[in-house]
């Protein structure tokens, strides 16, 4: 099994890449690690005329702290996140979650930004970014814009990224004060896409929740930000009834379908269970942080 024929360009600079997309963006696909794209090409589900391989463009592999954010370049791979000492300190939920993305070999090639732009509703990074309120930086020949992650996903495999744009970076606001997160993923086997996964991030002010993020994987047409469930936490102590209410609202926000991985009712209930467990875990971690 292998792809249908295509043209291939491997530009040496970002401007060159953006020039190619300005000209042929509608017929082109941008490739970073290729771990989602190449399988689609092989199955011939995608048959672009042109592949723009951005893998050789310098300066996009960094993970750095800057101005209240962590900035992750378009070519930073899953494994770079897994090994990042900085992220382990600043956003440990990312390091916890990345281990559950596909398998170790795919993590040696695939990228966070590429995965978010691929917009698979079963993708893990999308809901983690939703929980963390990330922003994407998109560049085109015309300039740069910053896209909040909330609203970025339009449907399965579709986003608001234009065909002449390349997402060059993702920015994640650094939590302030005592914060904690968790990622719970139910998969049929290691390496599988999630049956259900829930990403959580909370920030505490005293004993009360100041800010909360809840992202859901594999339970709808896109990764879902469970806003009502988030709001139900803000301003409250994480007592059992508050947790239960938020979990219930998160389950209501999920719109899963029956499939080989389980019924919709099952997946909704696992969302509920994971929000409950995840909030308790996140709370425990936040309380361990020295204010």
């Amino acid at each position: 099994m292998f792809p249908a024929a295509f043209d291939y360009q491997s530009p040496a600079t970002l401007d060159e890449a953006l020039g190619l997309l300005a000209e042929r963006g509608d017929d082109a696909k941008v490739m970073a690690g290729g771990q989602s794209l190449i399988p689609l090409l092989k199955l011939r589900f995608a048959q672009p005329q042109l592949i723009v391989d951005i893998g050789r463009i310098p300066g996009m592999t960094e993970i750095k702290r800057d101005d209240g954010h962590v900035k992750i370049g378009a070519l930073a791979r899953h494994v770079d996140i897994e090994r990042s000492k900085e992220l382990a300190k600043l956003l440990p939920v990312m390091v916890e979650a990345v281990r559950w993305i596909s398998d170790p070999l795919v993590r040696n090639r695939g990228t966070l930004v590429g995965s978010v732009c691929h917009a698979d509703p079963s993708g893990d990074w999308g809901s983690i970014m939703l929980a963390l309120d990330a922003e994407l930086v998109a560049r085109s020949a015309k300039g740069e814009r910053v896209i909040p992650i909330d609203g970025f996903f339009e449907g399965p495999f579709t986003t608001t990224l234009r065909s002449d744009e390349i997402a060059t970076e993702i920015r994640i606001p650094l939590p302030t004060g005592r914060a904690g997160g968790s990622y719970h993923k139910l998969e049929r086997r290691v390496g599988d896409f999630a049956t259900v996964a829930v990403s959580l991030q909370i920030e505490l002010d005293g004993n009360k929740v100041k800010k909360a993020g809840i992202g859901l994987t594999s339970v709808g047409a896109t990764n879902i930000k469970a806003k009502k469930a988030e709001q139900a936490l803000v301003g409250h102590e994480l007592k059992d009834d508050v947790i239960a209410e938020s979990a219930k609202l998160a389950a209501e926000a999920a719109e899963p379908k029956d499939d080989i991985r389980g019924t919709a009712a099952y997946k909704k209930d696992v969302v509920r269970v994971f929000v409950q467990r995840g909030l308790k875990a996140a709370l425990g971690r936040a309380q361990e942080v020295k204010a």
Partner: protein
Amino acid sequence: MRVNGAERSGDVEPRVLLVDFLRTNLALTGTHVGCDTTSCGACTVLLDGEPVKSCTLLAVQVDGREIKTVEGLANGAALAPIQVGFHEEHGLQCGFCTPGMMLVASALLERNPNPTDDEIRWAISGNICRCTGYMNIVKAVQYAAKMHSEAAKAPAAAAVAGGGE
């Protein structure tokens, strides 16, 4: 690209997968195809020292980079410790997944010379073996780890008896 230390080149269509280039153009048939969907790891090679699935890379993507295949593990007649480990601990049966397993394991030992059993299992979790049940693969990697650490202690004593049977 450099393959097993030697400069290799060839003209291919952009769509040609790295695994096909290695097998067809370079006749390195130790790299296998098991699934076509990035699921099994039979096609594993090392790209700049890191294990990747060569069925999910285009040959053109690795232009100018360093590839190691199973054929590059041994040093002439002398088997690499990971190969000795697989032999001594019966870490292979049909042999089809073995090249990928050994390459992943050798990359693991580079980063982590004393892995726990669970760390080994995690590292090989992108590679399917249909025969062994993995227990002996874990032992094989531990065997190689031990050979490495003994070699570090006493380089002279660690010369590997080569040549297979």
